[in-house]
Symmetry: C2
Subunit: 192 residues, 2 copies
DNA sequence: TTTGTATAGTATCGAATCGAAACTAATTTT
DNA sequence: AAAATTAGTTTCGATTCGATACTATACAAA
């Protein structure tokens, strides 16, 4: 009898989907809905220039209206604060309040992130590579902005004594280097 | 200056989430809602004994009520048919109609599955391994049934001249060997 | 058999989600 | 300066979705 070694692409896609859905916090446990959780996590992960209403809308593939509503609800709950942007008076940078950060840490068990963290370093690195490839593939057909962090972004200018994003001209502090950026454009594969 | 090579676990989780959300068919394009698409795909992927209302509820991490509604809507649209189970009068096996299959094939562009298919064989295999590991990790804490296909299931009895699932006693035809099973229990890691 | 419990699925209702569209205000382009 | 973009908000209504309660079948035990 023949032995099947590999999952089909369709099965894998379904399993990924299942993983994501099954690890979303249930209903409004603890008072937050899934969408609110997603937004809170995003604010905790994205870098300064991406931590905006539009940034979340892109990340979560929802309309700006929906994004606006959710952020508002988080602000009302004092989990997130708005810091008016100095460069653009229309925009505000979203930051976690200490209470928001606590909430996020408290919920960190049993999430997909925890499972990924538990992978071996080698596995996690390979996983990261594949995810990056998938993001690249899906970029063109959907015309979406890529999500990624600065380390493989063509906007990163590490020439000076401090790393700089040549798109915004802003200096990149340590935490921002690791954070997710909604304007990410990977090196060597073109785009924009 | 230090160079960052790896994404953090949190970033990876967020990217996976983004991949899934961004590849869901938009709104009710073509008349199907995201939930309906998900259900249609599931019916197209799952094996005989898993192709049920409950199976979909498990897969999609929704309530049985919601699952029941969605399936009903697909039946009303003649995309899915119910075949009463012979072993269990309460249950019905769901099957794609030819129109359902067509709809599914037509939408297959730009999905996550397509992107995964485009990976190199090596990448896809590695990806599969990691996904399987993640599913295992998330199994215990959530107490959920594992999703997987027969090739690494402890219920598979390949001893005779035809492979058999020793849980249901049913013979496994070719397509079912590859399909997703909602009763999957992986070899060598225990469980159930 | 009967009784009890678990499971497959359906129906209903109300709250929450979510997107579309129309809008304001600031920014950039021509 | 006018026109076109972009960030974000608001309102409204359709849809989703889960909780709960329900029916019917299956299975287990006495």
């Amino acid at each position: 009898m023949m032995t099947i070694r590999e999952q089909t692409a369709d099965n894998l896609a379904a399993m990924v989907r299942h993983l994501v859905r099954a690890t979303e916090p249930d209903g409004d446990q603890d008072g937050l809905t899934p969408l609110q959780w997603s937004a809170l996590q995003y604010v905790g992960l994205a870098n300064g220039m991406s931590r905006t209403v539009s940034g979340f809308a892109t990340y979560n593939a929802t309309s700006k209206g929906t994004a606006s509503q959710v952020i508002k609800s988080l602000v009302d709950k004092r989990l997130v604060r708005r810091v008016p942007s100095r460069q653009d008076a229309r925009s505000a940078e979203l930051v976690l309040t200490s209470s928001g950060r606590k909430r996020l840490e408290a919920e960190r068990r049993n999430t997909l992130a925890t499972a990924i963290q538990a992978l071996s370093d080698a596995d996690r690195e390979r996983f990261g590579t594949v995810i990056a490839t998938l993001m690249n593939e899906l970029r063109a057909p959907h015309g979406r902005v890529q999500l990624g962090s600065c380390h493989d972004c063509r906007h990163l200018d590490a020439g000076g004594n401090a790393p700089v994003c040549c798109r915004t001209g802003s200096r990149l502090e340590e935490p921002d280097l690791l954070a997710l950026c909604a304007a990410h454009t990977p090196i060597e594969r073109g785009g924009n």
